[in-house]
Symmetry: none
Subunit: 416 residues, 2 copies
């Protein structure tokens, strides 16, 4: 099946946003064994959207449009598409009801243009929007398959994964479905990992081996077709074992979960509790952990001791350590150690971690941007302090320091 | 001038990389006053690249291709383009010399396929590659302008900025550049904002008015052509005033900065300090604030009091309030009030804010997912508590609650 993706939005053509939706959809279609031949971005313009649809219709079997389902005047996709396939626009009552209930609950008046988001195309299958208001559209007509998705990634991704993918699988029909297994690694860079697996990735055709990198984690995706997932995983077993032989020490999960989820799962299964004292990361570590549902059984809380005052008041770091001539300073091994030690004394959690460093943009205490100290305290054990020099912008230093601290914690716990 | 960008590379269609080159080029073209009507991504396939060129040639004056200039077999762009415009391929001697010098210096033998990178199209203007080997191409033929750029961003960006942009400016001649002004709003949804400005956006052609929404903020972009930014802003003044007359109470900045930046700037300019006690947002508020460079002059620190134990130990919330039959519970107006009150007693900051709620995925204390209480404490004033019911996933509830709390704080401070 030949697919074409049409992203609608003038902001893409003005270079204000990157077209990440096309990447996301393309990647998912590849997993389904569907070939994308063209990605198109077009502005919020009736004639040009219609032109893009016409061209795509002449060369693709599956056309996926994203964007332009919102409430505003320049959200045109549904109207133009309906006209293109000779259908009418009608209100999808369940979506309208959901919307009006929401507005009532928030006590806001629902404006006329909001109702647009509940429109669907006649004879189509509506695609539910679990994270927003604009309902999606799936339609098969004249041997062509069409999907309309909302533009905001936080709406597009769940709608595509939960509703569009099953619809596509039903179309692909009796073709053996594609199954993927994810091996997730932390503490190793993508290029080094690839270097270690180079020969495998070159020789290997089925299952295919594809690497993907994300800040602080690398994923290897094994993909093959089989009747059942069980059979697929059996086909993958030998290559999976070979990969684990080579880089198993960095493997944190054999499923597609984030590093934070794996850490929380591991700590939860061992009934371990955690507290956090963070300075330069400014709440990032706590935020990463608490983004995991169920983290409350592990994570007790944290102190974002951004100012020296806070470090002194709440974690009793002596001012003599933090300030003044010859003092180690807030960004020091001593401060990292005391933060973790004192926090653990106060909270009695099984583990306490601390982070202090220079996020930037400018140096601090004469210390360079990116210098970070991490304290890892296991109850009744001495604190282990690590220092690292992080590259990148303020945002990257904060994220990398947070990920690095959680990775150090993970290593400690794994070795218990 | 109508422009079309064609990105060549199968890795884009497989969703392995995001097409950031199209964004980069589009943004630069907008600044030159050149309108991009379509962005295309096509694989390393002779027929489909030729098809994309043909279609673009029928509707655009300027066609910019990126990718496929490298040494490998699937780098086809120059050959296909030369055939398309009826030109021949020839070696660009300076580029070849540069390449052979480099290989000699490194003591590596230059292979035949490397020489490909020194090829140009006859009659074209070569575009120098300061950060790589593949030379670029600029050509005007039959009233069309063509540019071929290498795919790697680190090669494409310098080549485009240093050599392609001047070439384009010489073509545009005296056309005036585009200038934009950004009006940023918080506390009002995109649809409501647009509803208020509907007539303006319908009538208004120059300056153009374009709305963009992001979680917790809406942006209006005014755009016009003028010799200088000063003249452009003068042209925008009356429409800008009319917009502010209508929705000025939601305006937080007249430049393209985030809400957090505007809040920190406002507090910093008034020498106001802040402390945060957050439960359900799990560090998100602190993380949003500390993502702003220079936030340390305002933000003193925060307590992520995720567990009741933490709320009790660090912020002295009576267990009788938090737990047990008939107690208000951790998610309550009382807890939000006490958190803000006690934190402010401890920190003596000018403002303290607190957040407690149910992030989900499941209800807590018999309270629904998305129920959030916000406490805003100004020193020596009673705490103001607001409750709100947030829609969406755990991640969205956490983000929306954090943004909402910061918005409530911003409103309080603005009214001082």
């Amino acid at each position: 099946m030949k697919a074409e993706i049409i992203a609608v939005g003038t902001e893409i053509l003005l270079g204000q946003i990157v077209n990440t939706n096309a990447k996301y959809i393309s990647e998912k279609l590849a997993q389904l064994g569907i070939n994308v031949y063209f990605q198109i971005a077009v502005g919020d313009n009736k004639e040009r959207i219609a032109e893009a649809l016409k061209i795509a219709n002449n060369r693709a079997d599956l056309i996926i449009c994203c964007g332009g389902l919102g409430p505003t005047q320049d959200d045109l996709t549904k109207d133009i598409f309906a006209e293109f396939v000779g259908k009418s626009i009608e209100v999808h009552e369940p979506s309208l009801k959901k919307m009006s209930d929401l507005f009532n609950k928030r006590g806001i008046k629902m404006t006329e243009n909001n109702i647009k988001q509940a429109y669907i195309v006649s004879d189509c299958e509506p695609l539910q929007n679990d994270t927003g208001l604009a309902v999606g559209v799936a339609l098969t007509e004249n041997n062509h398959h069409y999907i309309l998705l909302p533009g905001p990634p936080k709406e597009l991704k769940p709608m595509f994964d939960r509703y569009a993918v099953p619809w596509l699988q039903s179309i692909i029909g009796d073709e053996q479905p594609l199954h993927s297994k994810f091996l997730k690694f932390a503490g190793i860079g993508e290029s080094i990992l690839e270097d270690r697996l180079k020969d495998l990735m070159e020789q290997q055709k089925d299952p295919s081996i594809a690497p993907y990198a994300k800040e602080g984690e690398v994923m290897i995706r094994l993909t093959t077709k089989a009747e059942t997932q069980k059979k697929a995983f059996e086909k993958m077993k030998s290559i999976e074992n070979e990969i684990i032989n080579r880089v198993g020490k960095y493997l944190y999960a054999s499923e597609n979960i984030t590093f934070e989820e794996a850490l929380i799962n591991m700590m939860g299964s061992r009934n371990l509790t955690l507290s956090v004292a963070e300075s330069c990361t400014g709440g990032k570590i706590s935020e990463l952990i608490t983004s995991v549902a169920g983290s409350s059984s592990v994570y007790q809380g944290g102190i974002v001791c951004y100012s020296n005052q806070f470090k002194h008041e709440y974690l009793h770091i002596p001012l003599a350590v933090l300030e003044g001539k010859g003092a180690p300073g807030a960004v020091s091994s001593q401060t990292a150690e005391l933060l973790a030690e004192n926090l653990n004394d106060q909270t009695k959690t099984d583990f306490s971690i601390s982070v202090t460093g220079v996020a930037g943009p400018s140096e601090s205490e004469g210390k360079p941007v990116g210098l970070v100290f991490i304290g890892i305290k296991q109850k009744d054990r001495p604190v282990k302090v690590k220092s690292v020099q992080m590259p990148g912008s303020r945002e990257m230093v904060q994220l990398r320091a947070a990920k690095y601290a959680l990775y150090q914690l993970w290593k400690e716990i794994r070795e218990i």
